[in-house]
């Protein structure tokens, strides 16, 4: 796994954010993880608006992990908005949600999600999944720098 890649974690639940960071640490991933705590904040971050204009502190992510149930703007709204922005069309967006309903899966893909992952409380399974996410982010970053 290479270093030097950034993941934007869009998650309103502090416990889930902590769980993700813990799983990433356990998996040996050394990604820089930035956070947005609601859908509006996620859009501001990706657009580089307001306090997120400082791209040194808040770099453009190589990959976004997006919850669906978010305050202010839902994950679906964030997806739809992101795919309407020319500079974000190719940005990998992985949905990470507690919903396994097929209508949500369908909608997420139709709005442009790259992957759809369901949250798990099994720490081993979560660590494996997060390790894969970090590997994927590293590959994306490596490919972009070529």
């Amino acid at each position: 796994m290479t270093n030097g890649f950034t993941i934007l974690l869009v998650e309103d639940d502090a416990g889930d954010r902590e769980l993700f960071r813990h799983a990433l640490g356990r998996a040996g991933g050394r990604a820089q993880v930035c956070e947005a705590h609601d859908g509006e904040q996620a859009c501001e971050y990706l657009a580089g608006r307001g306090r997120f204009a400082d791209r040194v502190r808040f770099p453009m992510p190589d990959l976004v992990l997006l919850d669906l149930q978010l305050p202010r703007r839902s994950g679906f709204e964030v997806l739809q908005w992101a795919r309407s922005q020319p500079h974000l069309k190719q940005l990998p967006i992985l949905v990470l949600t507690s919903s396994s309903e097929s209508k949500d899966i369908d909608r997420a893909y139709s709005l442009g999600a790259n992957s759809y992952l369901v949250k798990t409380i099994d720490m081993d399974a979560l660590s494996q999944m997060v390790k894969g996410i970090a590997e994927y982010a590293a590959l994306v970053a490596r490919d972009r720098s070529r």
Partner: protein, 259 residues
């Protein structure tokens, strides 16, 4: 479901709707003959809507498995309908209609059910593929929907075949288009999953591929449950699209070397 030799031998559920992608006529004949043969072995019957060329090939494959095709035809346990003729009967203004569809198949399925003393009826169809190859995706999907509706009532498992090489480059959208069919996708080749996974490891590195594997396995897919190889291809197309040509080329080479 396929056995290790690539044949579809395992029991399948009633009401199951499966899709297979076939890269060659030989691959189709092997898969479909396996689906038929296990139904016949259980004492069941088959209703097949086939093209003339595939009808002959299927008869050959069944005979090679020791199935007496002539006797099954004579007893009514193997009912073969010509694909183009049947489509002409179902389409109204270019679209299949429920009334015509039910008219053709309700009686045909009932006759097949009466012909078998035990076991159940299985159905196989190529009409959806014919529509799809003509570029009429709307009619193809409507026909899939009608099959679902009919088979739910009769409790008949259905296998649909699509000519599409999932590791080929000509139809990169094959999988996603067919996801709308809401069917289970059976493996295109018995060793496809191994070939694609090995190819991915060759292209991005073994450690990287190993790390990605749980992520790919955890990915939820709209519509049907995909076989492992197809699931990896689906993931690659959405997540690492620029790596797809290299991985598919390597997978083709691995599959060819195994022939």
């Amino acid at each position: 479901m396929m056995g290790a030799d690539g044949r579809m031998d395992a029991p399948i559920d009633r009401n199951d709707h499966q899709v297979c992608f076939y890269p060659s006529d030989h691959a189709l004949a092997e898969t479909v003959a396996g689906f038929f043969a296990s139904g016949f072995e259980a004492g069941g019957a088959v209703v097949a809507v086939v093209t003339p060329a595939h009808r002959a090939l299927l008869a050959e494959s069944l005979a090679a498995r020791g199935v007496d095709v002539g006797a099954l035809r004579a007893s009514g346990r193997l009912v073969e309908l010509d694909c183009d003729e049947t489509l002409d009967r179902l389409l109204f203004g270019g679209a299949p209609t429920w009334r015509l569809f039910e008219e053709v198949f309700s009686e045909t399925l009932a006759r097949a059910e009466r012909a078998c003393a035990r076991g159940a009826v299985r159905a196989f169809g190529e009409m959806v593929d014919v529509l799809w190859q003509r570029g009429d995706l709307a009619a193809a999907l409507e026909l899939e929907r009608l099959w679902h509706r009919l088979l739910r009532g009769h409790g008949v498992p259905l296998l649909c075949a699509y000519r599409a090489d999932v590791v080929g480059e000509r139809r990169p959208d094959s999988l996603e288009r067919l996801l709308a069919a809401r069917a289970h996708v059976v493996p295109s080749a018995a060793n496809l999953a191994d070939a694609v996974e090995r190819a991915l490891a060759d292209v991005i590195g073994p450690g990287e591929a190993e790390n990605l594997a749980p992520l790919i396995a955890a990915n939820q897919i709209p519509g049907p449950r995909l076989a492992r190889g197809e699931a990896v291809i689906f993931w690659l197309r959405r997540n690492l699209p620029h790596r797809v040509p290299a991985v598919m080329a390597r997978a083709r080479a691995i599959l060819l070397s195994a022939l």
